[in-house]
């Protein structure tokens, strides 16, 4: 049959009468059905399109709660699939143990990798698209054979019976199923939607059952020789997320065990993956060189710290999803990436009188460091580039006076001797932003962009995200508008625009969230920006808040275009905040870059306490940007300053000429925020630090004509009002006070303690002779009344780090 009889693509005139065309179409349909074209397939495509459309194109009622219909099955499915993988893993383990030809009875009860809170609560990932190829996890072992994918067409009966090779398997609910393993027989078990299935062909002498029950517990009870089990999902969830991948370790002379990669905790030593080409699902991992920390794997396999002996810790990774990228995510368990930071150097005011930097109110670095210290890392193990001193300093509250003049900023400067070098001085430059009373806060249009990929499935991640959002939700008002977009395998709308007052709707939407799938941040961010645009509040706060644990460059090709997108949207008035959860997988440099470009900010959230701080203090403060493109420039007086060095701000330096260039972006400052920078200064007449005490050059170089002034420096600040493109300048001279650091304010002392700590962590030459004891001493002296206990915590952590090194 060909269409040519009736249709002529060049000419759409109806050659035949409507009734002829209708009958033709009918016959073609009947013919297609006879050829086996499946209505079910077509219908399920439509169902998916509806579900996806539900998420993406449903007209959004602005600021009105609307619950979207959802299928809760998907979640159950995702959960069950995860559990199925675990079953596969266990089964493999069993089979491995049973590798020898003589049957050994084994009984294992284990808790599924998928057990997590609210797992059966529901629905949300229904917008995930069906993968073009059914995802499958193949668990292989030496001598199991013959496992194949199930033909998952079991219909939708509530109590499906499967008959394969004469064996009938019945299982009663979606969650609970039983897989008999029998010699020479192939059995499969599937959920009632046939969205996933486990298939087992019995090994040569395998006998037993594998049961997966509610709650994800798996019990495998089997005897027999080794083999292979296949898990397949015909449904919508790409369950082969890295966090569910399985890792086998095969130490020489030790039995091979089956392990879950999520339990692989590798230190900062080298963990190397052998080449793994795209599309492969397994590969070898070699632990090379020296491990700073021991690796503990759930199967009890332990790689001790220290130098690795060849072959001792070869690992095989199976069940991975597609790419090498995922693989490295998987294996380098501490794969957080940091951009290299290059510290500011000593500068002479004669050569470079101007020091320019962008305001920076992020605090992510300290939170991240805090986590590292708590986890027991020693100084040498903390990556230098994870230490951003300005972020450490800006984590803390400083008691600067609030601005009262025409500008929304007020300078707070202080000078004293440098605690770690008595010949030097320390200049603290504080800039305090005005605080808008809460009631004056404009309405907020917040779009939460939530990473629900499988790796978020940890108490410190998605669960904490939910709690954090609830903390914020309680602060929202009638006029505020909140939406949620999730992304994993695909993006979807988890909650359409909802009034900030509707805390219940928010809580409900949150309870439906569950982690599963791989990360596709790019598509999600587009949807999030669209939501933000659709609900745009003029003169309000319009912000996308991304909560993620990491990798964010899938979907939009490369960092570049994602950064462009964020930058473009910021110009339209929608800003981005990034909240980093967990610290095992963060693409730190990427997140930092996109928030810098998006006039945004970036925080780490590692505890509910931190969530409270970030969401209520920082975020709600940040939400109201009192100014944007805030640039700070300091002109040093060569008569007073021989050389200076800006501590921190390593990647926030601006060229001096950018200060007055309104086209150059800089950071934004939120209501009540302050920005603090410290300069280490070599006073004039104290010997040059910039290496210019040269033999062949006349010293001093051509004498400068200086204006008589007792001032140390001139502070200059430029800011733009949030809705303006023109910047306003303000200046203030710094008159030095010569005092010893222990006479300086507590704030000053504490800030210098934080700086010194940062310098030590960065192994900075300035701090070569300094010790952690000195940090503690300084900090204790500057602790002040510390209402939130942040400073006490700092002191504790410095002590912890000190103890770790001993």
């Amino acid at each position: 049959m060909s269409d040519s009889e009736f249709s002529n693509p060049q000419n759409n005139e109806m050659k035949y009468s409507p009734k002829d065309a209708l009958t033709d179409s009918l016959l073609k349909h009947v013919a297609a059905n006879r050829r086996g074209e499946n209505s079910d397939e077509f219908l399920s495509q439509i169902e998916e399109a509806i579900n996806a459309g539900e998420a993406q194109t449903v007209p959004i009622p602005i600021r009105k709660a609307k619950a979207a219909p959802r299928s809760w099955k998907t979640i159950v499915r995702a959960t069950a699939i995860a559990a199925v993988i675990a079953l596969g893993a266990l089964f493999w383990l069993v089979s491995y143990h049973l590798e020898s030809t003589k049957p050994v009875p084994v009984s294992i009860v284990a808790s599924s990798v998928a057990s997590h809170e609210s797992e059966l609560q529901a629905p949300d990932l229904q917008t995930m698209k069906k993968p073009s190829v059914s995802p499958e996890a193949v668990i292989t072992a030496n001598s199991f054979s013959d496992f194949s994918l199930a033909d998952s067409t079991l219909g939708d009966s509530a109590n499906p019976k499967i008959n394969i090779d004469g064996n009938t398997t019945t299982f009663d609910t979606v969650i609970r199923r039983e897989l008999p393993l029998e010699t020479g027989k192939s059995n499969s078990a599937s959920d009632s939607d046939a969205d996933y299935a486990i298939v087992g062909h019995g090994g040569y002498s395998t006998k037993g059952t594998a049961v997966m029950g509610a709650g994800g517990d798996i019990q495998v009870d089997a005897t027999g020789s080794a083999g292979k089990i296949t898990v397949t999902a015909g449904g919508e969830v790409d369950f082969l997320d890295s966090s569910l991948a399985t890792v086998e370790a095969k130490p020489v002379g030790v039995k091979r065990r089956h392990l879950d990669s999520r339990y692989v905790q590798v230190g900062h030593g080298g963990v190397e993956a052998s080449p793994l080409t795209s599309g492969h699902r397994s590969g070898a991992v070699r632990v090379d060189g020296e491990l700073n920390e021991s690796i503990t794997l759930s199967g009890g396999y332990h790689v001790p710290a220290g130098p690795q002996q060849e072959g001792e810790s070869e690992m095989l990774v199976t069940g991975l999803s597609r790419s090498r990228d995922t693989f490295s995510r998987n294996v380098e368990s501490n794969s957080t990436r940091y951009s290299e930071l290059i510290d500011n150097e000593w500068k002479s005011p004669r050569d470079e009188p101007l020091s320019t930097f962008s305001s920076d109110v992020d605090t992510a670095s300290w939170t991240n460091l805090r986590g590292m210290i708590r986890s027991g890392l020693t100084i040498g193990q903390i990556p230098r580039d994870a230490v951003r001193i300005e972020e450490m300093i800006n984590y803390f509250d400083w008691g600067y006076s609030k601005p009262d003049g025409e500008h929304p900023f007020r300078f707070a400067t202080e000078t004293a001797s440098c605690p770690w070098n008595a010949d030097h001085q320390l200049l603290r430059v504080g800039v305090q932003g005005a605080e808008l009373p809460k009631s004056e806060r404009p309405d907020a249009n917040l779009v939460f962009l939530l990473d629900v990929s499988g790796s978020m499935n940890q108490p410190s991640k998605l669960a904490l995200v939910k709690k954090s959002i609830m903390v914020l939700a309680e602060e929202l008002r009638e006029g505020d508008c909140v939406s949620m977009v999730v992304y994993a395998g695909a993006e979807g709308l988890a909650m359409p625009a909802t009034s900030g007052r509707d805390t219940m709707a928010i809580a409900k939407a949150l309870s439906r969230l569950n982690a599963g799938g791989s990360t596709n941040g790019g598509a999600g961010i587009k949807l999030a920006y669209r939501m933000a645009q659709e609900n745009f509040i003029k003169d309000g706060i319009n912000r996308v808040i991304l909560c993620t644990d990491g990798d964010f460059n899938v979907g939009i090709t490369g960092n570049e275009s994602l950064v462009n997108l964020v930058e473009r949207r910021a110009r339209d008035g929608v800003f981005l905040s990034v909240l980093g959860y967990g610290n095992d997988n963060l693409n730190d440099s990427m997140l930092e870059e996109i928030t810098n470009k998006g006039n945004g900010n970036y925080f780490f959230v590692d505890s509910l306490q931190e969530a409270r701080k970030v969401f209520l203090r920082d975020l709600m403060g940040t939400l109201v940007a009192i100014a944007k493109d805030v640039k700070i420039q300091i002109e040093f007086n060569p008569a007073k300053v021989d050389s200076y060095r800006l501590i921190g701000y390593a990647n926030r330096r601006l060229a001096a000429e950018d200060f007055e260039n309104d086209k150059v972006d800089a950071g934004e400052v939120g209501s009540g925020h302050s920005v603090t920078a410290l300069y280490e200064i070599v006073p004039a007449g104290n010997g040059r630090k910039d290496g210019k005490g040269l033999r062949y050059q006349k010293s001093p170089e051509p004498p400068l004509e200086l204006i008589e002034s007792g001032e140390l420096a001139l502070l200059k600040l430029r800011y733009k009002k949030p809705d303006s493109d023109v910047s306003t300048p303000m200046t203030e001279p710094v008159v030095p006070v010569h005092q010893n650091w222990d006479k300086a304010s507590e704030d000053f002392q504490f800030a210098s303690a934080v700086s010194l700590f940062g310098l030590i962590l960065r192994d900075h030459e300035s701090a070569r002779d300094a010790s952690l004891d000195q940090v503690v001493k300084l900090a204790e002296s500057g602790k002040g009344n510390d209402p939130h206990g942040y400073r006490a915590e700092f002191i504790d952590l410095v002590k912890v780090l000190k103890a770790a090194g001993e």
Binding site: M1, N12, E13, P18, S25, L43, T57, S71
Partner: protein, 190 residues
């Protein structure tokens, strides 16, 4: 599991919609196929139509004829499709005729019966050579030319025969066949 009444209501609504989809998708495919003359395009259109319909489903009055409602949506999607493909759409009168025909098939002679179950019966009622033509062209995947040469008739003659077969089938499905002479006379040996 979320068991709030509104969720349950939505889930019920969704299930109801799925049932309606299952019930009506074939007729709509046929309908769209008759308009755009391309089965794949028809599938896309029907899919889009259902997606749109679901969004409006809340407002759909259950007393109304779902099939007729859907045909209206499909019609509009078809018009979009013509526009997108940069092709001249059908005349409005053709649309109307198609809709009436489709409605007659579904509700005319034997309301509530399955159109597709009636097709076989009607095909059996076709005179032999028409049935054969339908068989060859539609079900055995022969081209018009192949079938014509098999039958030792001209392609034009074969096309005519097919057209006549379709006309008879159309009438039968509309409940009119019995009253007509099943004997065709048009094509003999052109």
């Amino acid at each position: 599991m979320d068991t709030s009444p509104e969720i349950i209501k939505l889930q019920t609504k969704r299930q109801q919609f799925s049932c309606l989809m299952r019930e009506h998708h074939r007729e709509l495919l046929v309908f769209a196929g008759a308009i755009v003359r391309n089965r794949d395009a028809a599938k896309d259109i029907v899919q889009e139509a259902f997606v749109s319909a679901w969004r409006k489903f809340e407002r759909f009055d259950e007393e109304r004829d779902f099939a007729a409602w859907m045909r209206g949506i499909v019609r509009n999607k078809c018009k979009d499709w013509f526009r997108k493909m940069n092709r001249v759409p059908l005349a409005d009168t053709d649309f109307v005729e198609l809709e009436i025909d489709m409605d007659t098939w579904q509700n005319g002679s034997d309301p509530g019966s399955d159109l597709f179950e009636r097709v076989d019966g009607c095909l059996r009622k076709l005179p032999g050579k028409f049935r054969e033509a339908v068989q060859q062209f539609y079900f055995e995947d022969q081209t018009g030319d192949e079938a014509a040469s098999d039958l030792n008739i001209s392609p034009a003659n074969f096309r005519k025969r097919l057209e006549r077969a379709r006309g008879l089938l159309h009438d039968c499905l509309s409940g009119k066949m019995e009253s007509q002479s099943p004997t065709p006379t048009v094509e003999s040996h052109v």
